[in-house]
Amino acid sequence: MDNTFTPIEARKPPSSAIGPIAWMKESLFSSPVNTLLTVFFGYLIIRFVPPVIDWAFISANWVGTTQDECTKSGACWIFIKQWFSQLLYGSYPENLHWRVNLALIGLVAVVVLQFFLPQHLRRRVGWVSLLVYPLVSLWLMYGGFGLETVSTDKWGGFSLNILLAFAGILMSLPIGIIWALGRQSKMPFVRVVCISSIELFRGVPLITILFMGSVMLPLFFPAGVQLDKLMRAFIAITLFQSAYMAEVIRGGLQAIPKGQVEAANSLGLGYWKTMRLIVLPQALKISIPNIVNTFIALFKDTTLVLIIGLFEVLSTIQAALQNSNWLGGHHIEGYVFVAFVFWVFCYTMSRISVHIENKLNTGHSRS
């Protein structure tokens, strides 16, 4: 007799527990409230999604060069297509677009390098590239030293947003760290100066600072001295952003147990060494989500420079809407496009932040 044990084949779950119907029962209609919500949102989707898709894709106008060719009822993407170069590069001379492209590629390269280089190279190359890249990109954008000069009032479009945001980020991080350390300093003068600058720039809306920079500041310069408008906007953004950055980093600093500093002191480390080797690496690491958060906020805030007449992407759209050949009311297309571009960039930034967090995770996370 064959004594080997043959298990009975597992029976399938009852048909009431699997399959699409069961899934729907489980997740969509599990209670009267959920059923109501499902019906409600289902109605909303059916009501609103098809018209949007129809507007954006099916009956949209893609081919042509003037608004008269927008004959179908949907979106007039010809508007975006024709203005695309302006939206991206502003009035930057067309034959020199490669310089902007190169600067942007460099930016991506600098960010990507931080992830893919082997550990021992990463640190050195990382710091060098962070110091060298801004100078190189400034040279590429502005010209001089053998390149044709492109004055800043020709810069514009989305590349100006990226540039302002990146430059703001790069400058505000060190200033923010210094202000945050200064705020906790034992020297009264340093402390008072840092606290008052932080509170001054944090307590005022960015728009106000931009206005100050663009309308008030020029009046205080002696005759003949001109500070570039873009430069003024950049300084305003940097000061504002540094104040926020200082507060974010202060949060990180306060989360580091006092014992860490005491341990460092007992090892004989001075103030700067303690900060550089013990406190800041830990403090910055826990601050990353908030730092990225303020960066994303800054990136979106760069559109505010439109109120001082700089042609970033949003004001380019507004200028385009005012062109007498495009007066057909294309603002929805324009704003949808800007929203989409910003969403793509901000989402990418938040993914990068998650990546950095995982990379630096040394087991303190409590999740």
């Binding site: 024709q82 203005w83 170069s85 302006q86 502003g90 009035s91 930057y92 067309e94 004055s151 009032d153 020709k154 206005f211 663009s214 309308v215 008030m216 020029p218 009046l219 205080f220 310069f221 002696p222 005759a223 003949g224 001109q226 408008k229 439109l306 109120i307 001082i308 007449g309 700089l310 042609f311 004001s315 507004q318 200028a319 385009a320 809407l321 005012q322 062109n323 007498s324 050949n325 007066l327 057909g328 009311g329 603002h331």
Partner: protein, 336 residues
């Protein structure tokens, strides 16, 4: 004591920056005219897809550049918002402000600026739905008005309706786009705005032919170029560059026939074009300054029709902006 010294220094710095020694020299040295324009206003200063500027206000800059530098394209455009325009001029960031700026007594007297003439006589007007069958603003008693908030139009319409003993309801909007949408969706019976704006708003309607612009103009909005006070030489150059365009139309000189007229035109035409007389020298410019303006930019009529008139999408009729002998009030002082 110390405070007052500091205060004195600061005010001195402010005022010294207002006085620019010699704008003409600066412009010639730089080889570029820095011109303040708006960030975008259909027909007046607008960017195209290639980043080139055009418009009636832009043409004023181009004519000054043609007169001073002999090349209308040597203009560096500085787009300005309404709030920063006067500061930019006072601080010397721009040489001339040509940004649909209304010439008012307050601005002329209190800002340290001079208005160098009028390039466009604007004024608040009405746009109504054709279905209303209204042909005069006096028939709008009891109607609802769509107005953009915070504009001088609000005051103008209040005055107008009170003077005529009529009542109206106000629906205000934040931007001109919203005002248009409000009018389109029937939230009001008529829309009030500056005439020059009405036409561009009308084009943006889904059915432009369903709306009419009424003939009444209820406020004075003379728009013109502005320069800093205290540099009379430069003031004269801007003033007469504008006048040269107006006189060019009056004398029948166009960009097409300017060269020919300089050789074989009537005495008045020759004087304008610098073939006779020494107007250019008196202005501190070359003899053919006006010739360059008309040849490169065109006379007033050419510029008007190209930018806001019948050759443009806006299709604004000349109205007040016709020559004085053709029913308008455009009048250049004598060119001699």
């Amino acid at each position: 004591m110390k405070k007052s010294v500091l205060f004195g220094l600061v005010t001195a710095a402010i005022f010294s920056s207002n006085v620019q020694a010699d704008t003409l020299d600066d412009v010639k040295k730089a080889g570029m005219l820095k011109c303040g324009v708006s960030t975008g206003l259909a027909g007046f200063s607008q960017k195209d897809e290639k980043g080139n500027w055009s418009g009636l206000d832009v043409d004023v800059c181009r004519s000054v550049a043609a007169a001073v530098l002999g090349d209308a394209s040597k203009v560096s455009y500085k787009p300005l918002t309404a709030k920063e325009r006067f500061t930019a001029l006072q601080s010397g960031e721009i040489d001339i402000l040509s940004r649909n700026t209304t010439w008012t007594a307050t601005r002329d007297t209190s800002l340290g600026l001079n208005f160098a003439g009028v390039v466009y006589y604007d004024g608040a007007g009405f746009m109504v739905n054709k279905k209303l069958g209204v042909d005069s603003a006096l028939k709008l008693d009891g109607a609802a008005a769509c107005i953009q908030a915070g504009t001088s139009t609000e005051l103008a319409i209040a005055d107008y309706f009170r003077e005529n003993n009529m009542k109206y309801k106000v629906v205000t909007f934040e931007t001109s786009d919203q005002t248009r949408s409000g009018f389109e969706s029937g939230r009001c019976d008529f829309l009030v705005s500056d005439q020059s704006q009405l036409y561009s708003l009308r084009i943006g309607l889904k059915d432009p032919d369903g709306a009419v612009v009424l003939p009444e103009v209820i406020s004075k909005e003379p728009l013109g170029p502005v320069v800093r006070q205290g540099d009379d030489k430069w003031f004269n150059i801007v003033k007469w560059s504008l006048n040269a365009m107006i006189e060019g139309e009056f004398q029948g000189v166009t960009s097409a026939n300017a060269d020919e007229m300089a050789k074989s035109g009537k005495p008045g035409q020759k004087r304008l074009l610098g073939a006779e007389g020494d107007l250019g020298e008196k202005l501190g410019l070359s003899a053919d300054w006006a010739h360059q303006i008309i040849k490169q930019v065109g006379n007033y009529s050419e510029s008007f029709e190209r930018n806001v008139g019948m050759d443009s999408a806006l299709k604004i009729s000349r109205g007040l902006n016709a020559q004085w002998n053709k029913g308008g009030i455009l009048y250049s002082p004598a060119m001699r």
